[in-house]
């Protein structure tokens, strides 16, 4: 019955080894999908490449539906899964700042590691930038602390916030995804081609 390590089915010592293995597949999949290219990543914001939308949405949905299905079959106890906590203004403000950073640099931390691995110097500079940013945050922690620790709603899910059954969410997101994929292909046809 999953999750396996928290339930002791797999010994805890395997945790870090599994981490490396998962990381290897993560890096491979991202790089093979082209996410080591900042110009490909930024494409979603300008309409010339929607790979980010397609990969992201598909991955989130497959994982979501997979979790629901495994829970339904009794292989995975969904209640034991870690839910990313909701600190309302932290989520919004952090997301806004990250959004600007994303468009400015064309990377996010995971994809930047992929780009570093294939030798991109701009990715190395980006990672240094992230570390400087973390340093700045930590040194100025007292300034950020109110939004970092404040407005904590708990580890809530959309079911808690919107009162809708989780299976409905899976269904609705699937519909939204299909519409988004169709729309992105239509937009792609009308946008000037960029080669990178």
């Amino acid at each position: 019955m999953g999750p396996l390590i928290p339930n002791g089915v797999i010994p805890y010592e395997w945790n870090n080894i599994i981490a490396i293995l998962i990381g290897i597949f993560f890096g491979f999949i991202l790089e093979a999908s082209g996410f080591s290219s900042s110009r490909k990543l930024a494409g979603v914001f300008y309409g010339y490449d929607f790979a980010v939308l397609k990969v992201f949405f598909t991955a989130a949905l497959v994982a979501l539906i997979g979790i629901l299905y495994m829970d339904y079959l009794g292989y995975l106890n969904m209640e034991q899964l870690y839910i990313h906590p909701t600190y309302l203004w932290g989520a919004i403000i952090g997301g806004v700042i990250m959004g600007v950073g994303f468009v400015a640099a064309g990377f996010c931390p995971g994809t930047s590691l992929c780009a570093v691995a294939i030798g991109k110097i701009d990715a190395i500079v980006y990672v240094i930038g992230i570390m400087i940013g973390i340093f700045i945050f930590s040194e100025l922690y007292t300034v950020f602390e109110p939004i970092y620790n404040g407005y904590f709603e708990g580890n809530i899910t959309l079911m808690d916030s919107l009162g809708v059954n989780r299976y409905w969410f899976a269904f609705i997101f699937t519909i939204i995804a299909i519409v988004a994929f169709a729309a992105s292909d239509m937009i792609r046809k009308r946008v000037k081609k960029i080669f990178y």
Binding site: F26, G27, F56, T58, H84, G95, M98
Partner: protein
């Protein structure tokens, strides 16, 4: 097989295929560990380790670093750091097989390398600050958060991409 390496270079997987595999991987990660994966946390551990090594007194007394500094083990001994190492290896293998390895600065032909590096640095700094505030990045908060329908994860995802679309106009010269 005599494939022109130049032509092969930017042939990437179909995004739905890549997304499908990534979804399975995230599912597997939750099934194994009960948590999703991430990336910015590994970089945070790096910073904490460096600060602790250079100025451990300061790290101890700072309210943020001290959360991650423990007596018995280094901050680098964490799941995310090992995962990040794996990412480097996996991306290297994929890039190597595809002939994409090489030192370079990737930028639009309309701008200089220097400009690209400046924006990469600035974007990185912003992303580093934002990822701390939101307690995660696109992988940890947005992707893994969405897989469990976390409200915070969704809010962060919408904030990142929504803001990206809103400010894209101001950075257009870098990309198109």
């Amino acid at each position: 097989m005599n494939i022109d390496n130049q032509k092969n270079k930017h042939v990437y997987w179909n995004p739905y295929f890549g997304g499908f595999l990534l979804g399975i991987l995230i599912l597997f990660t939750f099934y194994m560990t009960g948590r999703g994966l991430g990336a910015s946390g590994a970089m945070k551990s790096g910073v904490v380790t460096i600060v602790d090594a250079l100025a451990s007194n300061h790290a101890e007394h700072n309210a943020y670093y001290s959360k991650f500094v423990k007596e018995e083990k280094s901050p680098l001994n964490s799941w995310l750091v090992f995962e990040a190492l794996g990412v480097l290896i996996g991306a290297f293998i994929s890039g190597g097989l595809a002939g994409r390895i090489g030192w370079r600065v990737q930028h639009s032909p309309k701008i200089t390398s220097k400009r690209r590096l400046i924006f990469a640095l600035g974007g990185g700094i912003l992303f580093g600050i934002g990822a701390q505030i939101a307690r995660g990045c696109t992988s940890g908060a947005a992707l893994s958060g969405m897989a469990v329908l976390s409200t915070g994860g969704f809010i962060t995802m919408l904030a990142i991409f929504g803001t990206g679309f809103l400010v894209a106009y101001f950075f257009r010269k870098n990309w198109i």
